[in-house]
Amino acid sequence: MNNRRKWILILVVGLAALLFAAGMIFSSGALVRPTERSLAGMTEVPAYDVLSAQSALEQEILADYAGANYTFAEPYFINDPYDMNPLSALVLFDPEGAKSVKVTIHGDDSADLFTYEKSIDSARAEVPILGLCAGRDNLVTLESDKGDIVTLTLSTEPLPADFQTYELIESQPYKMEPGFTLMTACFNHSYTAIIDANAQVRGYLSNIDMAHGTSMIQLANGNMLATGDEYIQIPYNMMSLWEFNWLGKIFREYEVPNAVHHDIVELADGNILCVSNSANMVATGTREDVAVILDRASGAVIRAYDFRKIIDETRDPYHHFDPNIINLPVVDWMHMNAAVPYDEGNAIIVSSPIQSMVICIDKDTEQIQWILGPHEGYEGNSAYLSQYLLTPVGDEFEWQWCQHHPMVLPDQDNDPNTLDLLLLDNGQSKSFLEETAVDASQNYSRAVQYRIDPTAMTVEQIWEYGKERGAECYATFLGDANYEPTTGNRLITFGGQLSVNGVRTDDIIDGVLGDVVTRSRVVEVNETGDVVFEVSVLEDPYTKSGETYQAKRIDFFSPMSFDTLLGEHNGERLGESYVCDASAQKQPLIFIGKLAVQFDRLVNENGRLVASGVLSYDGEHYLLSKAVIVLQSATDYYLFNALNALNGRFFGSIDTTALKSGVYQISIAGGVVEGNDTTGKVRKGHVLTGYKITVPAADETAP
């Protein structure tokens, strides 16, 4: 062997050894393993829990109150005590024997005047002030039962610059159902607000991520119930329901692992019926096709109605909800938007706008009782459903299309065997076929009352309003229709009126994304169709959104909702959080690619890591994407599948208390997909976020 060959052999062996060593290092994960130094440069995920934060606020207010003596004549007051409703305040004082206080908020005229009485049965009077007007000095008069009177001036801020505009069209307060009108927003481009008969805003939720996309209801105890502010799937599938009052105090958070969206109802026993999803949307590949009952005491899901097993998920009529995204990972085939009890709670009526079906099932057996909806499209797999279709009777009859909010009315014909159902018929397309679809500029929506005879399996149209308004009241999506118990009026929300450059459109997806102008109109009519209240909701200068999911006439001040004193009741968290599945993906061994992540929420809620944000690639945003959250310590790693939504959005919820203790860096592995087809070209990457989370040993306190 000559020298040259010998050196070459040495070089080859040396390089091979180096290559082997490098391969070993690479495959061991050392390239992505954090060091003490790298972890020191990362930011710890901040701890935050809204319930604890509210308790701390209460203690702070009490400590401040204790710093001086406050009397009825010179009370303590604080604006917006929970940073939730900027048009509220809390007044505290030593009642000195007073047993009640009459509160009067003076507005511009009698329609603005708001008066209520708060009883006092404690050594510290706490009087909620609701219904202030925005951007002014509000005169508030307190009158005790002892005859003492004091007038306070409470200043409020202007409404946010991106607040939607309420334009009053008609108001006849003496003919209207009593109360204030709750205007629930659908997406987080708009605010949920409460308005008076002059369409003046008298309260709103400054937390724009809560109470939208789902009906907000007043419970029997006077509290409000609406979605919390944590997304499972943007734009409206939410993690929890919050029970709260109009000061913003959250009494209970009900966590729903299946997520909640659209309508919620309090059942006669106090439990909550809401529309939801299967517990694992990733596994079923479908969404918004399950109704669940929540136990009010524990928050647990005690019953789930999976409509994939009740009707035909392959029935696929034409509709505008169906996004033209091929191979969508989670299919919204039903888009269940309401579930309401019927027949003294023995049946459940469910609305599927995509299928243009209202379905009644037995609560216990899940057996279909009847189906209200157009008779087309029941072939093939769906043929067996034909036997449940109601037959129309009477001279004037139209089917509903893409309806919202079926409401069971009190007996209207003195016949306990019939059912009167009021709903909003959005009328979207008025056809299952694209070629016969009615154009948005020529279409109409209406509130319609049907009378159903379940024995004869017939349906009759009893009353309608909206057809005569034509396209002016046409709403492609969103809305509701409510029967008002005192006056018999109907409060109707034409919730999502879409337009591009002033031309009406049915482009729902861009409306959902906030990319086209969305307006709405709320109309209250009496039995004969006379308008007694009407408000047009317009977009603000900064966004394109003036949508209204629903409008409800409510009792703004509900005494029971303000019975507890500061510091007496810490908010409770009930139920079970959704947590992400462990990912089957292999550990990424290198940081690579031009993937970037931007968080809009990243908190450590008592050991549950909540991470939602958006993925981009090389500075560009893509419609479809997938994210895997990687937690990597010096010794261990875990991968979790995030739930993905359109436009690169993702959501992760990880129970870190189940992990080995340690300090974990947080990285995101994933990819974006070109175009609108999940089989499109994928651009992958793995990127550090710059954040870390510390998991304490079981016997240590969480950070």
Binding site: L15, R33, D64, G67, E157, A161, D600, Y622, L623
Partner: protein, 202 residues
């Protein structure tokens, strides 16, 4: 020749891998929790001036409300751009902006306003003003809610009762003033204080 080329290729791979190993431990900059797909910037470059915090409390007793200036910026235009991904994948840029009155600039003060002891004294915005070298005073804008839309969390504009309050407040100042000699004055009894600071306009 091929062998030598291969040796170079292998050597190059090793160097790359070792380089990656060296970089692996470095932490990335934290991805700031922020409104997704949204950029907020001061359209005209505004100088960020370190406030010359010269708190000169006039009261002998401890201040009930303590004010600190975290930052001060002057700008004649606030503009933001939001990347909107439309259904179908097209990306549009949606922009909006807010400008002060002609001849004026926005002064953006990031403030900390802390209550140091319990008591009846509220923080009164009517008692807070910026003064210039000529003695002219400028109050906070009555409505600066637009700040939030440019990614600038604002401090509540109602009178404050409790707590540690932080956020931006917006004033409107003439472009002609000497912005190197400004003073933030709070004149409520029990918390009187003045803070000298500067902010330079482009």
């Amino acid at each position: 020749m091929k062998r030598i080329k291969r040796f170079f290729q292998i050597g190059f791979m090793i160097v790359i891998m070792l380089f990656s190993l060296g970089c692996a431990g470095q932490a990335a900059e934290p991805a700031e929790p922020a409104e997704p797909a949204e950029q907020s910037e001061l359209a005209e470059p505004a100088e960020l001036a370190e406030p010359a915090v010269q708190a000169t409390p006039e009261a002998v007793a401890p201040l009930v409300w303590r004010i600190t200036i975290e930052s001060s910026e002057l700008t004649t235009n606030l503009s933001s751009t939001k990347a909107v991904v439309e259904y179908g994948g097209d990306v549009n840029q949606v922009s909006y902006s807010d400008q002060p009155d002609e001849g004026y600039a926005y002064l953006l003060l990031m403030l900390n306003i802390d209550k140091t002891q319990p008591g009846k004294e509220k923080f009164l915005w009517s008692e807070l003003a910026v003064t210039d070298a000529d003695g002219n005073t400028y109050s906070r804008l009555e409505d600066d809610t637009f700040l939030e839309l440019h990614g600038l969390p604002r401090i509540k504009a109602t009178d404050l009762s409790i707590g540690n309050n932080q956020g931006y407040a917006c004033f409107q100042l003439p472009l002609s003033i000497d912005s190197s000699s400004l003073t933030l004055i709070y004149s409520a009894e029990g918390s009187k204080q003045s803070i000298s600071f500067s902010a330079t306009a482009e």
